[in-house]
């Protein structure tokens, strides 16, 4: 990594930003969300915090422009230069400009706004380009579903922490730092010992999460695809606890520790993560083991240890009379489940390398399978 000449940095930890205008390529809330997530990338590894203002001069002014736009670095149409940003300081310093001749997107097609914004905001905070190809601050744009290049590398983390230090470890809400080095082991789908962190459906597909990856099984292709979580949802952590699709709202809720995120398609919704206690859990609940939505009843079941809670998605409230013991209502299912899926009228409980098909009408386990049976193993 490197910093700008003279190593300019903000002399305060609370920094304001303002989105001055918007691209027409994306809904405004998607731009807001991408910028918010891009700032969070840096916030998670430093003592810095960011607040958005809607008028006046912010430390970081974010704008979309084409061609000559009032500085000495005109944009150049489609391709080549995508954006630029200035190092910390007064006036235009710290500002980030995005070339609106690009086709801004939230996914792999076009130019991914979150990825570019995270890079540019790195400049706004004082990082110069890195010659480490794996780093976010490498100058050449790459969006590959097979690479973890949209996460902070150790190089980026060391760079930003050389300016601002690390996030105080006493902060209980700290999210584990996403890092690409050292690389954790890649899970193998037909490993007989394979277990899952979380399982959910998404728009008719089955998703099986494990560490930094997930398998995606569609109805059209029985051979599951294997992806990095970060390739679809760059701001999500790895090693998830639970996930479920509230398909009456076209969103998937993802849980890790005391926080949860909402995603719609490949877009993480603005305003997340939120605390799990906002759903109505008591303070004693520190994390969720598994979650599943039963669409016929519009109820979500949350499994924690040997108990489960039932959440009414219509009222957005926990049902009274819960928690109840898992074994009381799901006889044959052992406490502490890893993940649960609801499909074809059955509940599928995952625990370690085993999977239990449970018939809710007969209130009995009808089949015991390997966890990875869904992956054609």
């Amino acid at each position: 990594f490197s910093t700008f000449p003279g190593s300019p940095k903000w002399r305060k930890n609370h920094i304001s930003y303002r989105i001055v205008n918007y691209t027409l390529d994306l809904p405004k809330e998607s731009v807001d969300s991408a910028i918010e997530r891009a700032l969070k990338v840096w916030e998670e590894v430093t003592p810095l915090t960011f607040s958005r203002i809607s008028e006046g001069e912010a430390d970081i002014m974010i704008s979309f422009a084409v061609g000559e736009h009032g500085d000495f670095y005109p944009f150049d149409g489609v391709g080549q230069s995508l954006a630029h940003a200035y190092p910390p300081g007064p006036g235009f310093y710290g500002d980030a400009h995005f070339d609106d001749d690009e086709k801004w997107s939230l996914g792999p097609s076009g130019t991914n706004l979150f990825l570019v914004a995270a890079h540019e905001l790195g400049h706004s905070l004082g990082l110069f380009h890195s010659n480490n190809k794996e780093s976010l601050m490498y100058p050449v744009y790459r969006f590959s579903t097979s690479q973890a290049n949209i996460r902070l590398s150790q190089d980026d983390i060391e760079g930003i922490q050389s300016l601002y230090g690390a996030r105080p470890s006493s902060d209980a809400t700290v999210v584990p730092v996403p890092s690409i080095s050292p690389k954790p082991e890649t899970p193998v789908k037909c490993d007989p010992a394979l277990s899952f962190d979380a399982v959910t459906m998404l728009r008719g597909e089955f998703l099986f999460f494990k560490d930094r990856h997930f398998w995606r099984r569609t109805q059209w292709n029985p051979e599951p695809e294997f992806h990095l979580i970060s390739a679809f949802w760059p701001s999500l952590p790895s090693g998830l606890d639970a996930a479920y699709e509230a398909n009456n709202k076209d969103r998937v809720l993802i849980f890790k520790g005391s926080q949860f995120w909402a995603v719609r398609g490949n877009e993480v919704q603005a305003g997340y993560p939120k605390g799990i206690h906002t759903l109505g859990f008591p303070p004693t609940v520190k994390k969720i083991d598994a979650a599943v939505f039963e669409k016929e009843k519009k109820k979500t079941y949350f499994f924690v240890g040997d108990k489960y809670w039932r959440f009414d998605e219509t009222r957005q409230l926990m049902d009274k009379g819960f928690p109840r013991l898992i074994t009381d209502d799901f006889p044959g299912i052992e406490p502490q489940v890893d993940a649960v899926l609801h499909a074809f009228g059955f509940f599928y409980f995952f625990r370690g390398s085993s999977q239990f098909e449970f018939d809710p009408n007969a209130r009995t386990v009808t089949h015991t399978l390997k966890s990875n049976s869904w992956l054609l193993c």
Binding site: L82, A83, A85, V116, F128, N131, N132, Y141
Partner: protein, 82 residues
């Protein structure tokens, strides 16, 4: 501009290289066209500087890897400090 056995470069590649080096590597603008320069040492040096920064093999030539990377979209902030 000597190509040292590399694939013959067309003018558009040369133009791209000249603009790229000027924009991102503080290459001194020259009235002469990049590909007509008699003294190529400063050009080679700049290409080497770019290749080193971008993690490419340092050949000083506009080889296919270098040209391919120059075509990719990137951040507009120059790679060398002003």
């Amino acid at each position: 501009y000597p190509l040292h056995g590399a694939v013959r470069q067309d003018h558009s590649t040369m133009d791209l290289a000249q603009q790229y080096l000027e924009k991102y590597y503080n290459f001194r603008k020259n009235e002469k066209q990049f590909y007509k320069r008699k003294d190529s040492s400063s050009v080679v040096k700049k290409i080497q500087e770019m290749q080193k920064f971008l993690g490419l093999e340092i050949t000083g030539e506009l080889d296919s890897n270098t040209v391919e990377l120059m075509h990719k979209p990137r951040c507009g902030v120059p790679d060398v400090g002003g």
